[in-house]
């Protein structure tokens, strides 16, 4: 019994830590300008909490407690470090912190931490700095802001923990050596840099969204984490008095709307279900409502962009009570706008499918024929699977069979393959009847 209570208490501490860690870390980096040092002492503060909170009780302001404790430990480390390690800049920090720490009682430091502006915005922009490669940006963001362990991130991206650890170490070294600033970018480059941050959040979300059953649970947590970080970003920009970004609102709306339908994409046996086969009562209504509200707030700015348009498409799907109620005409219009903005061949493919649904499969097949020579699509399984679906809808069984086969050759995902094989079996049945 005692053990159980102890475990529950430890879980509670871990939960509090997870909630507070990124803000405390951001403040520590702000004070000491050293990424690794900040991470190390935060970890030590967490261990101290595990030891002391069960005896002393959980402090009223756990974040401030962690910050004060970690700061003290950082100072100890700096004092102990050899003279050679004490670079000029560090000595200034050391002297400053030393003076502050000795002249200010802990209670006051705690209060300061509470009143301190949230430093996480700086941390987000540092982690997503374009001088880091995008894989590193994703890993760093999850590690420092999402509080995921190296092992968790490694398993989410199907890499070994060693590889992921190396990636993180390299990224932190680049930040230090290249002088990547710990700052919110100047206004003239803010919007451009925000694009980079949004791309990272969307990558994190998609890594979770495209995960299938049989893969680790952590991958699904990526969706929740990307949404959480998106919300935090909206809040932080507002707190910093910066202009609201309609595209950021659109991105959070898009992720909420997609995620609301996520679990319905799989049947009882884990098989993939396309939109028209999904049980729409399994869609999360409250999450859809939240996404729609955010989308409306974004659209009110009247500065459309790709994330907002994709969110609007997703919202139209969510609004249809039955698959046949889907407003495909409006979806096709939104896709044509998206084609204009992004020029992406994959978007063109989606546009063709929407047109087919709004008009006839034949019209869609004509549009697909025009895309056939695009080298980006030739080896893309969804192109062949979409064409196969349209051929199936127009009862061209033999051609449909060939296209499903081509799609099958190109797909490496077990759930997708099972879907394609199911369709091939259906077609074989039709062909036998004729």
């Amino acid at each position: 019994m005692e053990d159980q209570a102890k475990n529950q208490f430890q879980e509670l501490i871990e939960e509090i830590f997870r909630e507070e860690a990124s803000r405390v870390l951001a403040s520590l980096i702000g004070s000491f300008k050293k990424f690794e040092l900040a991470e190390d002492v935060l970890q030590e503060a967490f261990l101290a909490a595990l030891e002391r909170w069960p005896l002393e009780g959980i402090p009223a302001r756990p974040g401030a407690w962690l910050y004060t404790t970690a700061r003290r430990k950082a100072l100890d480390r700096l004092r102990r470090s050899s003279v050679l390690d004490r670079k000029q800049a560090l000595l200034v920090t050391l002297a400053q912190v030393e003076q502050e720490l000795e002249s200010t009682p802990d209670a006051l430091v705690e209060k300061e931490f509470e009143d301190f502006p949230d430093e996480r915005l700086k941390l987000i922009f540092t982690c997503c700095h374009p001088a880091l490669n995008q894989e590193a940006q994703v890993a760093l963001t999850l590690h420092t802001l999402g509080g995921l362990t190296t092992e968790e991130i490694a398993s989410a991206f199907l890499l070994s923990p060693t590889t992921m650890a190396q990636r993180l170490v390299r990224a932190k070294r680049k930040i230090r050596e290249a002088g990547i600033p710990y700052a919110v970018p100047a206004l003239d480059s803010l919007m451009e840099r925000l694009d980079g941050v949004m791309a990272v959040l969307y990558l994190i979300f998609n890594a979770g969204y495209t995960a299938t059953t049989g893969e680790t649970l952590v991958r699904h947590e990526l969706c929740a984490e990307a949404i959480r970080l998106g919300r935090v970003l909206v809040e932080l920009l507002a707190k910093a008095g910066l202009r609201e970004s309609p595209e950021l609102l659109g991105l959070v709306a898009l992720m909420l709307l997609h995620d609301a339908r996520r679990s319905a994409r799989q049947g009882e046996q884990g098989e993939m279900l396309i939109l028209e086969e999904q049980d729409r009562t399994r869609w999360k209504r409250s999450q859809i409502a939240e996404g729609e509200a955010l989308l409306e707030r974004a659209l009110a700015h009247r500065i459309p962009g790709p994330y907002q348009i994709q969110a609007a498409i997703s919202a139209l799907h969510c609004q249809a009570a039955r698959a046949e109620d889907t407003d495909w005409f409006q979806i096709a219009m939104l896709y044509s706008e998206l084609v204009r903005l992004t020029r992406s061949p994959v978007v063109r493919l989606n546009w063709a499918i929407a047109v087919a649904m709004a008009t006839t499969p034949g019209r869609g097949l004509e549009l697909l024929a025009a895309l056939e020579s695009d080298p980006n699509l030739q080896n893309y399984y969804l192109f062949h699977s979409a064409r196969a679906d349209l051929l199936r809808r127009s009862a061209q069984w033999e051609k449909a069979r060939q296209s499903y086969h081509r799609a099958l050759e190109l797909s490496h995902n077990a759930v997708e393959r099972a879907y394609l094989e199911r369709r091939l079996a259906e077609i074989a049945a039709h062909q036998n009847l004729e």
């Binding site: 670079k87 000029q88 700095h129 001088a131 050596e177 290249a178 002088g179 990547i180 600033p181 700052a183 970018p185 100047a186 480059s189």
Partner: protein, 116 residues
Amino acid sequence: MRYAALIYGNEATSVNMTEAEQAEEYNAYVAFQQLVEKSGALLGGEALLPTSSATTVRVREGKSLITDGPFAETKEQLGGFYLLNCENLDQAIEIASKIPGASKGSIEVRPIMEFN
């Protein structure tokens, strides 16, 4: 922090420039230099003669190996550099983006190794 901004470009196009184009490029560099001097970030910089004038030296097992030409034959060649003193990478990137060569070739921004 100190940074080197290394200017890479295609020499072949520079060789084929008309006099007017050469004058235009020269003026662009003069304007850039004045701008950076004013910001206090400029520590120095030089333009280099084309790689046809380059000699590469290697010493292996005590023997000097001298070859004609640059270290690597690439599409873009190192044509010059600036030495900058900047607050951080963002400032260095901002200045590098104003170097006239950035709009045709590429600028590699490298922190200087400090020994202290």
